[in-house]
Symmetry: C2
Subunit: 330 residues, 2 copies
């Protein structure tokens, strides 16, 4: 009997989750950015796995070193959003045939560079032959259960904030994959955002220490999607009145006749944190991130109404629950 | 500049390991079956990742349910060899396009069945699109550092033992992939060993509790290779005087004019434990495994000489350090 074809990643995940028997007393529910296992007292082991796939996550001009480092950043970014320090990681590699020793060295160096950049170590792994490049990472840390910032704690009235400006990677990918143009300096910043993403770990750890954050997620699936994920988990909506569009993205959009807001809200592979903050602790949160060398940018507030609304210059528009779809090389 | 092409998995691993900065005081060195991170006191978190790849690990007639379950068994088997109880696992899936809802359900059910069979739970994961089926698992447990059985503790004079008879999967794969024949009952057992591998977890946990085991490994790369891995890590050799060839394998070899010893020593994807035991604690070890419902089969002893020698009927032959090479569908 022919069965229904599955289209999206999210339907696959829903289907799988429906088949798994649940462990009692899971410290963190399915569907958050990380998983956990209860340890002694109120400590939990924090666990995360994420896979980088050559065809969908690595633009053709990206080096193997950059791809390997990016695989690490993708995983660290989820720890950053939860305010948990990553300690060690395992690497499960699927490598196409015919790689050279230098290729493998590049991959090893990129993985190591990514791990050390965030003060973590690679302690084991496994390698296999796969037609496409596959880098599957598992990252581990230890935290107090109450200190892991979930997606589900936002309350109406909370401020919503981000750790950086958006739309750089979506513009960068348009340059790399679709031949769009930009002035030299703008181009450099946009492309760099694709090749050398950064996880906001210092910011996330600083924020966790303040007790000010009520919900948090990383923006790897895009700003709009991330807002909707917090909204869904926390049962709130958002009014965004100061959309965080990167100036390079504005310039790029202007030159190419594109919508900068579209690039900022519906891009992806951008590793900022999207979070909600108790209003009376805003200054404390802002100060903590500043001290860590970053910046916390207020973009709106959580609302009772469940929609995500953008209000600029007195005009309202609904932000759609559209997420980043991985690109394909062919 | 053209760089040397890499051929084998082992060279890739060596190359990668050369690029990773080492964490100080790693509780378990690189290259053993599992990794670890120090916890409180003498406890360690035990970590393992292993990847199942459709093209090399899943015979064409194997169901998705069986493939998913096998991915779990592969990982649990390494915990079994170390005598550590697996607690939770993360799944990182790479799925080809165009799977049906039923396909995904089958995969979910197979993963869950594998986990629950060994009293573990799936607590998180991630899914991606990959041309071939890729199931990457990470498994976690907690153990006392001194109780994790490494590959490196075998001493000359120790008995070497296994938890089952060998050569069934290599014969089963010859039936499935190369059209070899066998009588109905023999065929059933051999094919079943491919479709429904078992991890020797009860046996491994029972053995760990005895303090009798000096070194252990799982036999997924083949009996010969496993013996050489312990030999290398422990700086010993082995004299095998009672090769553990399954009776079905003997029959299969006889009918098809094949060498049963070849099938038993150089097969793979067979998840027995290969271990060394302190001679004065042999009965204790044997009894513990029996109580757990398994059997411990003595096959020889560890020697000062570094070779692995097979001595049957007064005749000696050198077992070669050949490992299991994954099959390919094309």
């Amino acid at each position: 009997m022919a069965s229904k074809k599955i289209v999206g990643e999210r339907e696959i995940i829903e289907t799988l989750l429906g088949r798994f028997e649940r462990m009692q007393d899971m410290p963190i529910p399915f569907g958050d950015d990380v998983s956990a296992y209860p340890l002694n007292g109120d400590q939990v082991i924090v666990l995360k796995t994420d896979m980088l796939v050559g065809k969908t996550d690595v633009p053709p001009t990206m080096s193997l070193w950059q791809a390997a480092r990016k695989a690490v950043v993708m995983n660290i970014s989820d720890f950053a959003a939860k305010g948990v320090k990553p300690k060690v990681m395992l690497i499960s590699l699927g490598l196409p045939r015919g790689l050279s020793v230098n290729d493998v060295r590049e991959i090893g160096d990129g993985l190591n560079a990514g791990a050390r950049e965030y003060d973590a170590y690679i302690v084991g792994g496994d390698t296999n032959e796969v037609a496409d490049l596959v880098i599957s990472l598992s990252v581990f840390g230890i935290a107090r259960k109450g200190e892991v910032i979930l997606r589900s704690g936002a309350k109406p009235g909370d401020f919503v904030a981000v750790t950086g400006f958006f739309g750089k990677t979506s513009a960068g990918l348009k340059i790399l994959l679709e031949g769009f143009k930009a002035p030299k300096n703008v181009r450099k910043t946009l492309i760099e955002s694709v090749y050398m993403p950064k996880a906001r770990l210092k910011e996330g750890l600083a924020l966790a220490s303040t007790g000010a954050v009520t919900a948090s997620i990383d923006s790897s699936d895009g700003l709009a999607w991330s807002l909707y994920e917090i909204a869904k988990a926390s049962n709130v909506g958002f009014l965004i009145d100061d959309p965080p569009v990167a100036c390079e993205t504005k310039k790029f959009a202007e030159i190419n006749g594109l919508d900068a807001l579209e690039l900022a809200f519906y891009g992806g592979e951008e590793y900022e944190l999207v979070l909600t903050v108790k209003p009376h602790l805003w200054s404390k949160a802002e100060e903590a991130v500043k001290k860590a060398g970053g910046s916390l940018i207020k973009i709106g507030k959580a609302t009772v109404e469940k929609q995500v609304i953008l209000e600029v210059g007195g005009e309202k528009r609904v932000i759609e629950p559209r997420g980043w779809e991985h690109f394909r090389k062919n």
